[in-house]
């Protein structure tokens, strides 16, 4: 599929690096297309378990490191508007649901995006992913149906294809491969082992690794028939 020209893209994820693996090629493509992209990242990934081996970070220094990594990744993708919302890793689902939706709604009102990208509630595994997706859906659900922006969701639970069907939005992001790899590598504290495990697969053009890097997929959010306010 080719990228439609958007008015404004709003990407909402809870953790630095959530944008890197499955979405950064899409982000870079929109940026390169001249579309303003805002990335709202809810936490600094304070609870990340990778501290280096031997450790180069502590529980207390990790958020400082990850804040810089997030800035580096955003810069690699050309994101002009990076917002860190100051919530805490692993606590999103315990926040007040309406207030969280208010936060999302306020951003949507301010930016008037034509496309929002977040996690698919019910199919995104990590409790913070789920809570973020739910809050975005709740906020978008407040907008009359005919005025809603497109809502493209990332899903990767073991049952996602079984229950949602195959992803309806598929892009090949080969043309921005370098930017995507730079974004992945920018999250050094979390990705250095993964990148090390690639070995020479990038240079040797390993088909499996390239397919993983080049293919990005999203599910258009399916609004429930009956209660569209969620």
């Amino acid at each position: 599929m080719t990228f439609e020209k958007e008015r404004q893209v709003l990407v909402i994820f809870p953790h630095p690096d959530d944008e890197a693996f499955g979405v950064s090629g899409t982000i870079a493509s929109h940026v390169n297309n001249g579309t303003p992209v805002t990335y709202a990242c809810l936490t600094l990934g304070e609870m990340g378990r990778n501290l280096g081996n031997p450790p180069f970070a502590t529980r207390e220094s990790l958020p400082i490191i990850r804040r810089q990594e997030l800035k580096d990744a955003a810069s690699a993708l050309g994101i002009q508007d990076l917002r860190m919302l100051g919530l805490r890793d692993k606590t999103i689902e315990f926040e007040d649901d309406e207030k969280l939706a208010d936060l999302m709604y306020a951003m949507i009102q301010e930016l008037n995006p034509s496309l929002i990208i977040t996690f698919y509630p019910g199919y995104s595994v990590h409790p913070d992913h789920e809570a973020t997706g739910r809050a975005v859906v709740r906020a978008v659900g407040r907008i009359p149906k005919d005025k809603r922006p497109k809502l493209h969701c990332v899903a990767f639970s073991n049952n996602c294809v079984e229950e949602l069907g195959e992803a309806d939005i598929r892009y090949n992001v080969k043309s921005v491969e370098k930017q995507k790899i730079a974004a992945i590598m920018a999250h050094r504290s979390q990705t250095q082992y993964m990148v090390a495990a690639w070995g020479d697969k990038l240079e040797t053009q390993d088909p499996e690794l390239l397919a993983w890097i080049h293919n990005e997929r999203f599910w258009t959010y399916q609004w429930p028939e009956e209660n569209q306010k969620v």
């Binding site: 609870m47 501290l51 450790p55 502590t58 529980r59 207390e60 595994v125 639970s157 073991n158």
Partner: protein
Amino acid sequence: MEPIIQADVQALINSYANEDVYLHLETTNGAYATHFDESFFSVGAYIRNAFLQYELGKIVGMGPYRVGLKLSIGWVYAEGLTHYEQDAKGRLLMAGLDPAGKLAVALQISKTPFE
């Protein structure tokens, strides 16, 4: 952080005894454990900025280590601790890192609140 030197850590634990301290205690097996292995029973617990005093604190074991803090009306303990550091803010940061370097447990003691 460096691998735990038991005598060093014991001296640090002693230095916070009978004083108001803020405590961080955490265990985790990672949010994806059940995603990768559906038979895995995922558990974790987390408390940040518990405000307390302990009258006695000990580090025990041959490594990984256990640390227990005796309170006037209760207890705090953690097991599996492997690494420590007293950071620039004077906080005692202890963690248990698994063989891959991933944090599995943390016990931290500070005279000022954690951010």
